[in-house]
Amino acid sequence: MIDVKGVHKSFGDLEVLKGIDLDVPAGAVTVILGPSGSGKSTLLRSINHLEKVDRGLVRIDGELIGYKRRGNKLHELREREILRQRSQVGFVFQTFNLFGHLTVLQNVVEAPVSAQGRKRSEVEPYARELLERVGVGDKADVYPRQLSGGQQQRVAIARALALKPKVLLFDEPTSALDPELVGEVLDVIKELARDGATMVVVTHEIGFAREIADTVVFIDGGRIVESGPPREVLDNPVHERTRAFISKVL
């Protein structure tokens, strides 16, 4: 479903991604682990072209993301096309980024209507259903600030789901939460995984990774150090760096 090939990315002189290959089959959950500054967020952001890559390709469901091929050359797509592609990818941010001046329901309804041209009358019941599903059905008409961090993040997940995306990307979805609120957000993500959503999750929660991941990818210094099923990568890491990281986080 998601196919990343030879992706390089630099910020000025700093090379953050040094050739990343990643393959996420449909319905699979991939968890990306790595120390801060290892490039894992940048990788996630380049999957929906929030970050332009310098070299390499990203494909979702066979469609080249952010570029089109003309002859032998790649041309960046027009903004309108890029936005259309993004509306097929759900992205959940570390800091939620809910629209503070809109109610919870308006937050969820906004993109399906304005980005996908769906009818408000059709989207609204679906949005309420999603809010119900993530456990904030009674909060549809309040503003984000009136919610706890965990509730806000669950609304953000509902907002991403409302686009009926092909894939879901989570960028450290629990890192900004108080410890006692982490569980409720992880539960929602786990349930999505059980329902067969294709997901890539950047996280520091090793236990959670063990529970939901089909594949764990460990990144350090802009390269994939090792990847495989959680049993291998988390319990019997081959590389010294992976071992050091896991012993530190656990």
Binding site: R80, H101, R145
Partner: protein
């Protein structure tokens, strides 16, 4: 003491004040002042919004043009600029739109192009735009970058990102400064009296020039300025309340 003096000191000459306070001349002068304020505000803020978006655009050319405009119009005193527009016919007798050294499409004489009122509105609006641009730009950059990023990640169209997501939140910090500008423009219209435009302050000067009752007539203008500024402040309160939805303070 001061309040007591207001009531008893014959110098304030309240009978004259009441004689002129609600006369036809004053009302029509007030109307000119209000018109100058409204046109100056609307044109100034529209042009200001354009300038702000130019400064925030990724095009270096647009950035430099907008920066240059703001630099120029903040550097020139308003009164100088107004006198310049008033006297533009002295510099350029005719204006035309067309191809340089080629055919002309539209052609007008600068004397007819804008009367004194038009020149005043133009001057106020151009001046106001430079300040409005910076206020609007300040409001926009005060909105958390995550908001725009989330909108982009959701695939919301560019124009809608601006009008639905960024601008309403930018309004929170644009409004108090913007209201300041409108109020100072409203009183600033008195500067237009140098162009002999019959706005409130000019008309008051004309009257006390005739009857020498300077203080009561200045009080007529003062009280009207206070009344309308109060109205504007009330409007500001309600507009701000509307844009404060979803915020803690």
């Amino acid at each position: 003491m001061f309040v007591h003096g207001l009531a008893t000191n014959p110098g304030w000459d309240w009978p004259t004040f009441f004689q002129f306070f609600a006369t036809r001349t004053i009302f029509s002068a007030l109307w000119v002042t209000v018109q100058l304020t409204v046109y100056g505000t609307v044109l100034g803020f529209v042009l200001g919004a354009v300038l702000a978006s130019m400064r925030l655009s990724s095009s270096p050319f647009l950035q430099v043009v907008a920066w240059g405009y703001i630099w120029a119009f903040r550097s020139i005193p308003l009164i100088v600029q107004l006198l310049f527009w008033f006297n533009i016919a002295y510099l350029y007798k005719e204006l035309s739109i067309g191809v340089p050294f080629g055919p002309e499409f539209v052609h007008f004489s600068t004397n007819n192009l804008f009367g004194p009122l038009g020149a005043a509105v133009l001057g106020l609006a151009l001046h106001q735009a430079a300040y409005a641009a910076e206020i609007i730009r300040g409001g926009i950059i005060s909105v958390d970058a995550g908001q725009l990023e989330a909108a982009a990640a959701l695939g919301i169209p560019r124009i809608r990102q601006f009008f639905r997501i960024v601008l309403p939140q930018a309004m929170r910090s644009i409004l108090p400064n913007g209201a300041n500008e409108v109020i100072s423009l409203f009183k600033g219209t008195s500067i237009v009296s140098v162009m002999a435009i019959p706005e409130l302050f000019y008309q008051v000067q004309v009257i006390y020039g005739r009857n020498s009752r300077v203080v009561p007539l200045l009080m007529v203008a003062t009280v009207w300025y206070i009344v309308l500024t109060t109205l504007l402040s009330i409007v500001q309160y309600y507009v701000e309340r509307r844009f404060a939805r979803g915020t803690a303070r």
